[in-house]
C-alpha cells in the first residue's frame, strides 16, 4: 500500500496548473499507487459472468485485453449512444466553457487536469468523435477527436475510477451535462473488455448470490442484530425486537448492510430499531433482500436493476403495505430515480405509504410506495409523536453532511435537518457553498471506499473535510451527521486525517439518543449512556 502524505504536505502538493503537454498525447497515464483500485479477481468476474476474467494489474504493461477490444468498445459505444439520450446529447453539446473545471473534489484535491469534469468527459468524447463522427474523422485533433487504442483504455480505467459520480459538476453546467452519466458509460464499456475493480464487483457478486454486499448469510444477520439488541438493552434497559421475513407485516424495512455490519453504522441501526419499537410498528426486515445499497449502480444499469429487483420481489412475497428505506446515499438515488422504471411497477399488494402513527399519506411516493426513514421520522416529529430530549445530545456540536445522491438526485435537504434540529441543541451548517446541492463528496463514493485508494480518497475528501474544519474551529463542531452508509464508512477515516476530534454518525443515532422511552419518562431508569455506550453527559460523570 502506498504511503500517505501528511495533510500539510498534501495541501502543498496541490497544483491546479495543468502541464504544457497536450492532454491527448499524455497517455498512457502514470498509474500512481494510492490513486487506483485493485482489479476484480478472476473468480469474481467469472461468477458474475462478465467478459474477459483474468489475473492482471493496472501496473502491468500488458492488460491482456481481448484482441478485438477496439471493435468491442466501439460497438458498445454505438449501442449505448442509441439507448441513452443523455449520453448522446452530453457527447454532442459540451462547449468546454470550463464552469465545471474547479467543481470536482478530485480535481480540487489532486490538481490532475484529467479530473476536471470537462476533460473526464472529453476522454470519451474524443473517441466518440474520432471513431463515430465524420467531423472527427475528417478533422481529427482539431475537432478534439482521436482514435481508440490500449493506452486510451488505461486512461479510462484510471480516470473513470477516479470519479465518484457525485454530480456536483452537473449543478454548475449550463446544459446540465452530468459526468456521472459519462462515467457510468465509461465503466460499462470497460466491463466489456474486462477492466473493473474488485471493491465494486465483489459486493455485486455477494448481492446477486447471498443478498447483501458484504455477503453475510441469513443466520449471521440475525446473530448480528441480536448483538445489537443486547447493546440496546444495555443502553435503554428494554428488550426490543426485530422481526425477520415476517409475512403480512405492514412495513418492509430495507437498509444498507453497512448499517448492521460496522461502526458507526450499527449505532444508526440501533436508532432505527429503538424508534420502530418505541412506536410499536408492525414491521419486518428481510434476510433475503438484506441490502438497501446497490453497488450495481456503480457497475451497469442492468446490475443495478438485478440487485434492486429483490426488494419489490420480497415486498410482494411478504405482502407488506409499503417500504421504508434506511439512511443511504446511492441507495436513494436508485430508489428515487431508477427503481420504479427499472424494476417496477410496484407489486399490487403495496399501497401508497401512509404513516400508521400520524396518518400522513406520502403522496410524493405514491408510485414507488417507498419512503425514506427520515421522511417518516420528520413527519412523526412534526406531529409531536415523539417525546424527545435534545439535551441528551448536548455533548455534541453537530453539523450535517449532505450526501451527494440524496442532494442532487432527490432534493433531500430539509427533512434530515428538521430532525437534527429537534434531536440536538447545537446544530451548525457548513458554509453554503459546500452544502445542499453544492455539497462535496466524501471522496470515497461510487464504490471507491477502498484502502488501496487512500491517497485519492483523502485528496477527494479534502473539500468536504476543509468545510468541516471550518465549523469545527468556528463553532466547536465535534460530530458530523450524515444519511449515507458509505459516508459512515469513509468519513471517520477522512476526519481522522483532516479534522481530528470530529466524529461521524447517522441521523437516527442522534434520534435514538434523544428519544425518551416510556419508562424513562417516569424516571424508572433514566438514560445515562448513548448508543455507543458512552456517558451521555461526560462532565457529570467526571464530577461524580
Amino acid at each position: 500500500m502506498a504511503k500517505l502524505p501528511k495533510p500539510d504536505e498534501l495541501i502543498k502538493s496541490i497544483d491546479w496548473t495543468p502541464p504544457e503537454k497536450d492532454w491527448m498525447d499524455d497517455i498512457p497515464p502514470e498509474i500512481k499507487p494510492g490513486r487506483y483500485c485493485y482489479p476484480a479477481k478472476k473468480n469474481i468476474v467469472e461468477e458474475i459472468g462478465f467478459p474477459n476474467p483474468r489475473d492482471w494489474s493496472p501496473l502491468d504493461e500488458d492488460w491482456k485485453l481481448p484482441s478485438n477490444f477496439r471493435e468491442i468498445i466501439i460497438e458498445g459505444m454505438k449501442d449505448r449512444l442509441s439507448k441513452y439520450r443523455s449520453f448522446k446529447v452530453f457527447m454532442d453539446i459540451c462547449v468546454r466553457c470550463g464552469a465545471c473545471a474547479d467543481k470536482c473534489h478530485y480535481f480540487l484535491g489532486s490538481g490532475d487536469p484529467k479530473n476536471m469534469p470537462v476533460l473526464r468527459a472529453e476522454l470519451l468524447r474524443s473517441i466518440y468523435k474520432g471513431e463515430l463522427t465524420w467531423q472527427g474523422k475528417l478533422f481529427g485533433k482539431l475537432a478534439g477527436a482521436r482514435k481508440l487504442n490500449e493506452d486510451v483504455i488505461k486512461e479510462w480505467f484510471y480516470y473513470y475510477y477516479q470519479c465518484s459520480e457525485c454530480r456536483r459538476c452537473s449543478v454548475f453546467c449550463p446544459y446540465g451535462i452530468d459526468t456521472c452519466e459519462v462515467t457510468m458509460m465509461g465503466r460499462e464499456l470497460l466491463h466489456l473488455v474486462g477492466c473493473n475493480i474488485n471493491w465494486i464487483l465483489e459486493p455485486v457478486r455477494n448481492c446477486f448470490k447471498i443478498g447483501n454486499h458484504i455477503g453475510i448469510p441469513p443466520h449471521t444477520i440475525k446473530e448480528i442484530i441480536e448483538y445489537l439488541l443486547w447493546d440496546i438493552e444495555e443502553v435503554t434497559g428494554v428488550k426490543m425486537e426485530v422481526p425477520f421475513n415476517k409475512k403480512g407485516a405492514e412495513i418492509l424495512f430495507v437498509t444498507p448492510s453497512g448499517d448492521y455490519f460496522a461502526e458507526p453504522g450499527i449505532y444508526t441501526m440501533m436508532g432505527y430499531i429503538i424508534l420502530f419499537n418505541y412506536l410499536g410498528l408492525d414491521w419486518t426486515m428481510s434476510t433475503y433482500a438484506s441490502e438497501g445499497g446497490n453497488f450495481g449502480l456503480f457497475t451497469s444499469h442492468e446490475a443495478m436493476a438485478k440487485i434492486n429487483a429483490k426488494i419489490y420481489h420480497e415486498a410482494e412475497r411478504l405482502k407488506v403495505r409499503f417500504i421504508i428505506g434506511g439512511e443511504c446515499g446511492h441507495m436513494w438515488r436508485v430508489k428515487h430515480q431508477y427503481m420504479d422504471t427499472a424494476t417496477g411497477p410496484a407489486p399490487k399488494n403495496l399501497e401508497v405509504p401512509r404513516s400508521p402513527i400520524t396518518g400522513t399519506v406520502f403522496e410524493h411516493a405514491k408510485s414507488t410506495k417507498m419512503i425514506h426513514v427520515c421522511e417518516f421520522t420528520a413527519d412523526l416529529i412534526a406531529h409531536g409523536k415523539l417525546e424527545l430530549d435534545p439535551s441528551r445530545n448536548d455533548k455534541y456540536v453537530v453539523t450535517f453532511h449532505d450526501s451527494c445522491n440524496p442532494s442532487r438526485g432527490m432534493g433531500f435537504f430539509e427533512e434530515p435537518r428538521y430532525i437534527l434540529k429537534h434531536v440536538c441543541n447545537n446544530f451548525y451548517d457548513m458554509p453554503e457553498n459546500t452544502i445542499r446541492e453544492k455539497t462535496f463528496c466524501c471522496g470515497s463514493g461510487s464504490g471507491l471506499n477502498t484502502d488501496e485508494f487512500m491517497e485519492m480518497r483523502m485528496r477527494g475528501g479534502f473539500p468536504r473535510a476543509n468545510a468541516v474544519q471550518y465549523v469545527r474551529d468556528k463553532y466547536g463542531v465535534n460530530m458530523l451527521a450524515c444519511i449515507c452508509a458509505i459516508d459512515r464508512a469513509a468519513l471517520p477515516t477522512l476526519m481522522n486525517y483532516w479534522a481530528p476530534e470530529v466524529g461521524v454518525c447517522g441521523v437516527h443515532e442522534l434520534v435514538a439518543n434523544a428519544l425518551v422511552l416510556p419508562h424513562e419518562k417516569t424516571g424508572e431508569r433514566p438514560r445515562t449512556l448513548d448508543m455507543r455506550q458512552q456517558p451521555l453527559k461526560p462532565e457529570e460523570e467526571e464530577n461524580a
Binding site: 439507448k83 439520450r85 449543478v171 446477486f208 443466520h219 422504471t341 412534526a382 442532487r408
Partner: protein
Amino acid sequence: MGAVFALVTVLAFVIVVYVGVGIAGLRGLFGIVIPYAAFLVFLIGMVYRMIEWAKIPVPFRIVTTCGQQKSFRWVKRSRLESPYNNFEVVLRMILEVFAFRSLFRNLKAEIKGPNLIYGSYKWLWLGAIAFHYAFFTILLRHFRFFSYPVPEPIQILDQIDSFFHIGLPHLYMTDVVILAALTFLFLRRLADPKLRYISLASDYLPLFMIYGLVISGILMRHFFKVDVTQVKEFTLGLVHFHPKAPQVGVIFYIHIFFLSALMAYFPFSKLVHMLGVFFSPTRNLANNSRAVRHQPAPWWKKPKFKTYCEWQEEFKEQLIESGQPIDEDCYEKK
C-alpha cells in the same frame, strides 16, 4: 495551437472572398449560391440533429435536483430548482435558457493557506449573457433588411440600440457589447491555464468566425460604407427568391461569407448546444419519479435475479437453525 489554426482559417476565408469576388468577380456564387446553400444546410442540419436526439429514448428520470424536493406541506419546496410537474419544468428551462441559471451559480475555488474557499464568480455568466443577448439583438435588428415595410418593433429596437447617437451612422451599443464579450470569452481561454488546456481548435473557430462577422459588419457600416439601397434590394430579393447580387464592396461579401460559414458550421459543431440544452435529461424532467412512473425505454428488459424461493433452497438449513420462517408457498407452487 488551436487558436492559431482558427485564426488562419478565418484569414483564409477573407482571402477566398477577396479573390473570389474582388478579383474573379464571382458575385453570384458568393452572394447567392453560398448563402442559400448554407441556409439550407443550417435548416436541414438543425432539424436532423433534433430528430436524431429525439429518437433516442430517455431510459431513466435522472434529474439533477438543485433545490428541495416536494414532500410535506410544511416543507418549503423549490419549484424552480426541483420541479415537480411539467409546468415547473418549463419555468426551470426558461430560467436556464434565458437567464443562464446554472452559470449564474458559478464559483471560483481558491486555496489560501490551509483553507479552500469559494468566491462568487459571475464573470463567465456576464460574458456569456452579454454575448448571447447582443448577438440575438443584432440578429433581430437585421430583419430591417429582410422586410418591407420594416415592422415597428424592429425600428424601435434599432432606435434603442443606437440611442446614444454617437457618430454617423449611429454606433450600435450591441456592436460594442458583442466585441467586448467576444474578447473576454477569447482571452479567458488563453489566460486561464486550465481553459487553455481544455480548449480545442473547434472552441476558437466559432469565436473567430463571429469576430469576423461582427468586425466586417462594423467596417461596412462605419468605414467602407456600402450602398444600403442596393443591399436592401438584394436581401429582399433573397427573401422573395429572385436575388440579384449587388455591385457593392468586397466587405459586404466577406460579411455574407462569414454568416454563411457560421450557418453551415452550426449544426455539426458544439454550437448545437443551442438546441441540445432543451434535450438535456438532467434539466428537462420533473423530479417526481417516486410519484409518477417514468416509462421504461423500449429496449429495457426486467432483470433476471435469484428469487426468494431459489435463495431459500440454498440457505434452508441456516434459516431453520436460526429460527427464521420457511415459506411453504415456495413448495406449493411446484
